[in-house]
Symmetry: C2
Subunit: 585 residues, 2 copies
Amino acid sequence: LDYQHVQVPFEITLWIMLASLAKIGFHLYNKLPSVVPESCLLIFVGLIMGGIIYGLNDKSPPVMDSDIFFLYLLPPIVLDAGYFMPSRPFFENIGTILLYAVVGTIWNVFGIGFSLYGICQVKAFHLQDVSLLHNLLFGSLIAAVDPVAVLAVFEEIHVNEKLHILVFGESLLNDAVTVVLYKLFRSFCEMPTIKSVDVFAGVGKFFVVGLGGVLVGLTFGMTAAFTTRFTKDIRVIEPLFVFLYSYLSYLTAEMFHLSGIVAIIACAMGMKRYVEANISLKSHTTVKYFMKMWSSVSDTLIFIFLGVSTIGENHEWNWPYICFTVIFCLIWRALGVLVLTFFVNRFHVNTITSKDQFIIAYGGLRGAICFSLVFLLPDFHRKKLFIAATTVVILFTVFVQGMTIRPLVDLLAVKRKRESAPTVGEQIHIRFLDHLLAGIEDISGHWGQYYWKDKLEYFNSKYLQKILLREYDQPKSSIVLLYEKLERKHAIELAEAGQLGHAPSHPSLLCSGFLCSNNDRTVITDKKLEDTLNPDVLENIQEILARNLYRIRRTGPAYNRHTLPGETEPVEHAKEILILRHKSL
Amino acid sequence: LDYQHVQVPFEITLWIMLASLAKIGFHLYNKLPSVVPESCLLIFVGLIMGGIIYGLNDKSPPVMDSDIFFLYLLPPIVLDAGYFMPSRPFFENIGTILLYAVVGTIWNVFGIGFSLYGICQVKAFHLQDVSLLHNLLFGSLIAAVDPVAVLAVFEEIHVNEKLHILVFGESLLNDAVTVVLYKLFRSFCEMPTIKSVDVFAGVGKFFVVGLGGVLVGLTFGMTAAFTTRFTKDIRVIEPLFVFLYSYLSYLTAEMFHLSGIVAIIACAMGMKRYVEANISLKSHTTVKYFMKMWSSVSDTLIFIFLGVSTIGENHEWNWPYICFTVIFCLIWRALGVLVLTFFVNRFHVNTITSKDQFIIAYGGLRGAICFSLVFLLPDFHRKKLFIAATTVVILFTVFVQGMTIRPLVDLLAVKRKRESAPTVGEQIHIRFLDHLLAGIEDISGHWGQYYWKDKLEYFNSKYLQKILLREYDQPKSSIVLLYEKLERKHAIELAEAGQLGHAPSHPSLLCSGFLCSNNDRTVITDKKLEDTLNPDVLENIQEILARNLYRIRRTGPAYNRHTLPGETEPVEHAKEILILRHKSL
């Protein structure tokens, strides 16, 4: 037996296997995950495993290595979050999100730090040796809402898109603030005296860290998009570039002490649309699938490790400090949300309701980032107290808040996410209104979001697409995609009704897709269609659709080591059938 | 700047990126890869990079770590090879493959070892200090044909399936022999005296290593298949299990000093058919795609590292020893193939032609396995000579043989791989003949391959499928799959001819798929079909097809963190359209 030789990969594989099997286990009992969030179950599994390890070895089980967390476990989750980020609600609410993320986090850090310092002054609690700086340092790591925990809970409760993006966006973007404040206070702790210059340098650093992250991310994202222009002949390694470039953006940002989370999100959001257009459908399925898989495994491992690391002798228990930490975390977050939302609502027509505010405040979960940061603290005599307090806050937010938030959302009847995709009618109207608003903003000289969006779109189609896309003259708009989907759906409906044989040749779909909404579609015959639309316009529409939809089937060699064996893609074929049917009319 | 912190993942990512970009680079110039095999180009890139590193640092560039090679780079390639192994030709030729792999490799080891020992006795060459055991040890590592190198070259030249599987199968299965002989001679080198007991133990060990590997692999493969029975609710982590279990089988085999390559191949071949049936179509696309991607990256890295590691001061040059090694490798392989094929041909009707024999002998490429093994040798004063000889043999086989084999295949007009998939007619006939031959073997009391295949198939459908498949009563035979494909093809043809509107409702495809071959299909109308086939039979066929093809569309929740967002699978939809059309008749 030669265990030493294979130990590292063997143990990593076994941990991942355990995590995956635990996940399968929960889903076999359908009732459990519908009551308790998966994150709680996973922490629970971790606690049990930690208990077993502790019981057997009689020493503390290994704690999650902060390096492993930040270098290997966190990036997949953030990449997944960035890649699947719904960009429209995100950019529509970017101001509010930034306000919560930056001002809100700073508010929480100082609020928690100062009030805990106040508690430390009470002689009965025996905490007078904890300085203000240490309290602020602790505040800086405990204040930040954790994206992993938020994602794990919010994706299961299906609140409306705006609410989701507000909490989730905040949890992602506050990383820049956390990085800056944490490093600032940590270096202050080691400095003999603090000059006011240092404080100003800290404020300046915040912009560098945040904007630097965005810049690094966008650079790598554009490079990734550019690279996928040339992968036509080796489809098989296409997905690789998506992962490699985003990971490099994260590592590069970390290397320069910028915000890695912000970088990887900028990279993913920047490259998504170009990469999607350049790579093959199967490659894209692989990218999406693998991203989901990877982030799912990462987050499972994080919660299990969180559980395992909780067990042991790393803790120093001090009732008042720990209890007040939990209370201050709740109070300052609630106050922060109330105050900030008051200002936000003054400048917006579409206000944040008080129910939404409650869920935003209540959804401020803490997680593995705090946990990793507290272990990265320099050694000082109260570190174990901080570890204990952090652990309690995490467990409290994940278990108590995480488990009660779903019933609360039900109880308050918070507006849920709409289940159906927007209809063509809606899409056309939204787009139309965007153009209209951009025009109004242009005329009135107001540089609002629509103005910038319009400018960006112009820049994109004028320069970026030409450089980054392989076939830049064939952009696939969401309407064309929707048209394809409707076409398919309609064919199924006809087939189900047994009408395909009898009335297959009227292009009712073309008009129904364009003119009517999905739900109350009325079948318009050939005759009526021609009456409704100007023939020129109709021809134009058909030409656009045909050009966008048709793809020549590639006839490659039968076997090639760079491609998967056999058959051209069935989806392509299926598309073609439907498209050609229209062509043949 | 904090490079230390991110060094390990950053450098790994950069290496992979370099490798992938090099690959893209070659494919941009279409002419280059069609003349020079990719493996040569990659080694060349490696040589240049090694030269640059050597020039800049003035010390030898790092050599490929044997541990990294065996633990991380080799498994993906072997997994890919095993998973996509065409099982029918493999099992049909398993006897011949094993003969080449076992007897052939032993022949080569002893042939090369003894004749090099003979060379060492010539005083003029100054090699008298190389003992017989050391020569045999060297023979054991240099004799084995390398799967990575073989795959890289043979997949580009498209020889016929039998020839391909003979060379490729040999290169995979000889691992067991190599492991045993290499470890045997290495331990003999360290023993003071060798008893005859040790030699017999070595022979016995061979069976343990080979069969043990198969057993470990099958165990993990079946467990993997069983696990995927329960992943219905979390499709996203399905692909993970395929990778985890196969990697575990490899590591476990290595841990017990069994053949990891044999284990991972047994695992992949064993689980493939069950996993494929259990997991979703998208998961399977991801599995296939990622396997190809991973193996492609691995093999790119291997060849680049091979190039880099060649540069440096690890070599001791001795013209006679190195030249004779190359010559003996060629001669003994050619002799071995000739002698073994002579015996094989006596027992087979379908003989191996002399052209095929030449290609088998000429295709005996050496690669990174030899290279890693020679670095794993215990230190002794002639190790550098062995390293030099191994490097030269690898470069000679990869460059000279690898580059000339394609023109030779053209020149000799070796039978190529057939480009088209077998027609339904052929498939039915092959299956029919299998049953017939199994029956004949049963009656004549001969336990041949068909008898065993039949028994295995019975055991599979009687027990294994019930345990391992989620829906074991719905096996998807290749005929049904072909039917789907033809159905789609036919619909496209109709659409292209503009006939879909006019004559969409005759089920001509059903009969054309079943009765006629793909090429000379004649359209048979409803009437004719009913005349040709007994109505009962027809109904039965339709019923089978309908049950196998139809799938109820799942309507899941709109968003779930374990699934990909949106839309049910378009392939499923497209299928349904076509199937329902038939149903509605």
